[in-house]
């Protein structure tokens, strides 16, 4: 029996998360700790804005440079730009970088200071996300000037024919005037033709550009046989970037699927469907109440470009469902309508709790933060037996209450680990004799495929995530860590100004 219980529509989605295009990174550049924010340009070629915070007072200079993620361009870097140090905040640096082509790029950050040199690279997808229409005032101004120029050139041609060859002081005769009128009429037609052809050219350029504006991969879902979730990704034909047969595992899975109840946001599942045919993923659902759900599916292409497929669907009650296993996890909390925006503690199982270590200051949109969390036992002591969850100290999902924003972030930041893996492979030392190489800090995940078999590694009970909210509003954060073999999720709510 096949249930086809869908679709209210496809959410707006975007490369690398939904509605959250900025890239955040926290890590080391040699001996220096850096928090980097990259705001990719909305048009390509375009200028990316870079912010670097170095938590060290002996930094003398920060330099930044854009490079393709891999290929020949990744090995022949231009002269880096020197980032500007803030006058008010000497640990904060800013700069702008040109990204010339569509695709996977990296921003390389060099830090010089008292402890020597350090370097790190952060993957960045460079895709045009919009085309701009001209605002009215500029449009009126330019249209007026163009009309003036068009009429002006016709008048100049007419005056040239009528008077330019007259002897000084002469006045044009009727013959000249008639000839002038004829030439002006012809010129007017010619100028109109030029204007018309120019408009065709402009439209052609605009259409060409529109074809290059990023079209997110489309996702639809069905529930078959009462419990089997089938997801179909559809290639939108957007160049070569979102084809479906080139997906690479990101910390061990081709897809990370997040299912969030809509509108309550009180239930969330982090699941990992398996791919059958390219673009077709299936999963036996765990126990799940009937209702409306938002689905966000993170995938990464072989180019290093991440995408998030998004859809909304009605799911029938699945009971009993498939027990959670492996890296799959579920979380439950209070409905978002009852959210306490000031709460900084979230209960975990066994009397444990997760504490959001934040200050009282209000969160601002478009500003990078480090979100710190600590896991404590019943007595407020740091929790023991905290382990890596899919190779990382934690995963955090930032979801806008209106579902227009979704970001899946790791302690290293918002770039997928698969892209870091591609970057690491591309930046292996040149084996040519005499080649000069600089050791670069790239978060290493080792063998992603073999991660399932990794032994549990004891971790510190504290985890942090670099992220910045793209716009004001209310958000729910799902913070996931693994303790004593079980995935625990702390749920927090916040308002962003």
């Amino acid at each position: 029996m096949r249930h086809l219980l869908l679709f209210f529509g496809i959410c707006s989605s975007a490369f690398a998360h939904v509605g959250s295009p900025d890239v955040f990174y926290e890590g080391s550049a040699g001996p220096y700790h850096v928090l980097v924010t990259i705001r990719p340009p909305a048009v390509i070629p375009g200028v990316a804005e870079i912010e670097v915070r170095c938590n060290s007072n002996d930094v003398t200079q920060v330099r930044i440079v854009p490079l393709p993620l891999r290929g020949p361009g990744a090995k022949f870097a231009p002269t880096p730009d020197v980032a500007q140090r803030s006058k008010d905040d000497p640990e904060f640096y800013t700069g702008s970088l040109w990204m010339m082509g569509f695709g996977s790029w990296q921003v390389r950050v060099h830090v010089d200071g008292g402890k020597g040199q350090g370097e790190t690279s952060i993957p960045v997808p460079a895709l045009a996300t919009r085309s701009t229409t001209m605002d009215k005032s500029l449009g009126v101004l330019l249209a007026g000037l163009c009309l003036f120029l068009m009429i002006g050139i016709v008048s100049i041609v007419g005056a040239g024919v009528r008077e330019a060859q007259l002897e000084p002081g002469s006045t044009p005769g009727e013959t000249n005037r008639r000839r002038s009128r004829i030439v002006m009429a012809v010129s007017l037609v010619a100028v109109a033709a030029v204007g018309y052809l120019g408009n065709l050219w402009w439209n052609s350029e605009a259409n060409n550009y529109a074809r290059r504006v990023y079209k997110p991969i489309q996702m639809t879902g069905t529930v078959e046989s009462g419990r089997r979730l089938v997801l179909h990704l559809e290639d939108t034909g957007f160049f070569r970037f979102n084809k479906l047969d080139d997906l690479v595992p990101d910390h061990g899975h081709l897809m990370h699927l997040f299912v969030v109840s809509d509108p309550a946001m009180d239930r969330m599942w982090h699941l990992h469907p398996e791919q059958g045919e390219p673009g077709s993923f299936t999963l036996d659902l765990p126990a799940i109440p009937a209702g409306k759900y938002r689905l966000f599916a993170d995938i990464v292409h072989a180019s290093g470009i991440p995408e998030t497929g998004a859809t909304v669907m009605e799911i029938p009650a699945v009971e009993p469902g498939k027990p959670l296993s492996g890296d799959d996890s579920a979380a439950a909390g209070s409905p978002v309508s009852q959210a306490d925006l000031n709460r900084t503690e979230a209960p975990l199982s066994g009397g444990y709790r997760m504490v959001w270590q934040r200050d009282a200051a209000a969160l601002k949109a478009k500003r990078a933060y480090l979100f710190h969390f600590r896991v404590e036992d019943q007595n407020g002591r740091p929790a023991e037996n905290v382990e890596l969850y899919m190779g990382m100290p934690g995963h955090a999902e930032f979801v806008g209450n209106d579902f227009q924003v979704f970001a899946h972030v790791h302690p290293s930041g918002s770039a997928p680990m698969a892209a870091f893996g591609i970057l690491q492979a591309a930046s292996k030392p040149d084996s040519k004799p005499g080649a000069v190489n600089v050791a670069r800090e790239v978060p290493s995940m080792g063998d992603m495929q073999g991660m399932q078999a990794m032994p549990a590694v004891a971790m510190t009970p504290e985890v942090s995530f670099p992220y910045g909210f793209p716009k004001p509003g209310n958000y729910r954060m799902f913070v996931q860590v693994k303790r004593a073999g079980k995935v625990e999720t702390g749920i927090f709510d916040t308002r962003v100004e």
Binding site: I44, A74, A77, P78, C146, A164, P168, G169
Partner: protein, 385 residues
């Protein structure tokens, strides 16, 4: 034609300010454009406020403001001597060249916000030809043509020393037009294409008409030679001066080490056909125009190919890799495998018949553009205002 001319308009012996300012504007545009191209070949990225862009837009500002003021002062000053040698447009009076140059200046200035919006809408520059750039180029060409007409209006009424001075300035502006045209076609006239018929066709379309027109309007014995001489000196100046400015690539990938601005190539050896054409035109004044243009086209293509072909071989040889000829300058983003860096000719025609067809088209183009140029020159000779 009704005439109220009682006395000829006096042409001052000194060159008026508005001609000098227009000359500065034209020079600024051409120097700025070569500077900008060198910037993109060596640094890669820019902003609106680079010195090269300022030099280019200064052309629009100078000509727009200068010629605009000339038109207003002529229109509003009842005693202006220029009124008798002016044309009337929308109630305003001024020399025809002033109106054309002012139009060009306004077009150039208009292109600035248009270009800025274009970048924000469709990305930063990746190609030369875009609607705002075409508007900018059209404005630049109009300023050059307007300056030419502005000079002609005086030159064709002048005599003696005044005429001679104006003639020199006229030829200088003609040379700047050649520089401008060579910029527009420079992607097709690189030294690696100089053994291709297409290269000769492009040059034959671009150059003979200007030489014929300017020579016809000037009437000077060695007009074409002077124009090409100024063009050559200007290009050699760019070739020798621009590398003195240090520069580093700011875009990747950087395949070629660059430490200074990359200048334009050595000028085309147009001086040889220019000398021959001047010599021929002095001896063919009584010939029929089409016959003159046919022989002129033949002279141009034959002599230009005869000197440029072996010179191209020289330019790709190690002997030219010095600061004099500049064949060792490469754009930062040229891979070492490219024909240009390897100093290897790139044949645009794959077969001999294709090459012959291109050369035949080059000859036909040279004849046709020469004839058009002669007609243009005749028109310019009659300009009085």
């Amino acid at each position: 034609m009704a005439s109220s001319a009682e006395q000829p308009a006096r042409v001052p012996a000194t060159i008026p300010w508005y001609i000098w300012s227009s000359i500065v504007a034209v020079t600024s545009a051409m120097a700025g454009t070569h500077w900008d191209i060198a910037w993109h070949r060596s640094i890669g990225r820019d902003t609106f406020w680079t010195p090269a862009h300022i030099a280019i837009y200064l052309c629009g500002v100078i000509s727009g403001v200068g010629c605009g003021y000339l038109i207003l002062s002529t229109s509003l000053n009842g005693a202006s001597l220029l009124k008798r040698v002016s044309v009337k447009i929308w109630g305003f009076r001024g020399p025809l060249g002033a109106f054309i140059a002012a139009w060009g200046g306004i077009a150039m200035i208009t292109s600035a916000p248009f270009d800025d919006w274009w970048h924000r809408a469709y990305g930063l520059d990746v190609k030369i030809m875009s609607p705002p750039h075409v508007l900018l180029i059209a404005g630049m060409v109009a300023v050059e043509f307007g300056t030419l007409v502005l000079i002609l209006g005086q030159m064709n009424r002048a005599a003696g020393k005044a005429k001679e001075k104006l003639d020199w300035l006229f030829l200088y502006v003609g040379a700047m037009i050649v520089v401008c045209i060579c910029i527009l076609v420079f992607e097709y006239t690189l030294r690696i294409y100089m053994h291709s018929g297409y290269f000769y066709r492009v040059v034959a379309i671009a150059i003979p008409g200007v030489l014929a027109g300017v020579a016809k309007a000037s009437g000077r014995r060695w007009a074409a030679t002077t124009v090409i001489g100024i063009y050559s000196v200007f290009l050699i100046g760019c070739l020798w001066i621009l590398p003195l400015v240090s520069a580093q690539p700011k875009l990747g990938p950087v395949y070629q080490p660059v430490t200074h601005l990359i200048p334009p190539e050595f000028p085309l050896l147009l001086i040889v056909p220019a000398v021959a054409l001047d010599w021929f035109w002095a001896r063919s004044k009584s010939w029929k125009p089409w016959l003159v243009s046919a022989v002129s086209g033949l002279i141009f293509v034959t002599l230009f190919a005869a000197v440029q072909w072996p010179f191209a071989t020289f330019l790709l040889s190690p002997l030219s890799r010095n600061w004099v000829f500049g064949s060792m300058y490469f754009d930062y983003n040229l891979p070492s495998t490219s024909h240009y860096v390897r100093n290897v000719f790139y044949g645009l025609e794959k077969t001999t018949p294709q090459f012959c067809a291109e050369m035949a088209m080059a000859l036909a183009a040279a004849i046709l553009t020469t004839r058009i140029g002669m007609g243009w020159g005749d028109w310019m000779r009659r300009i009085r205002r």
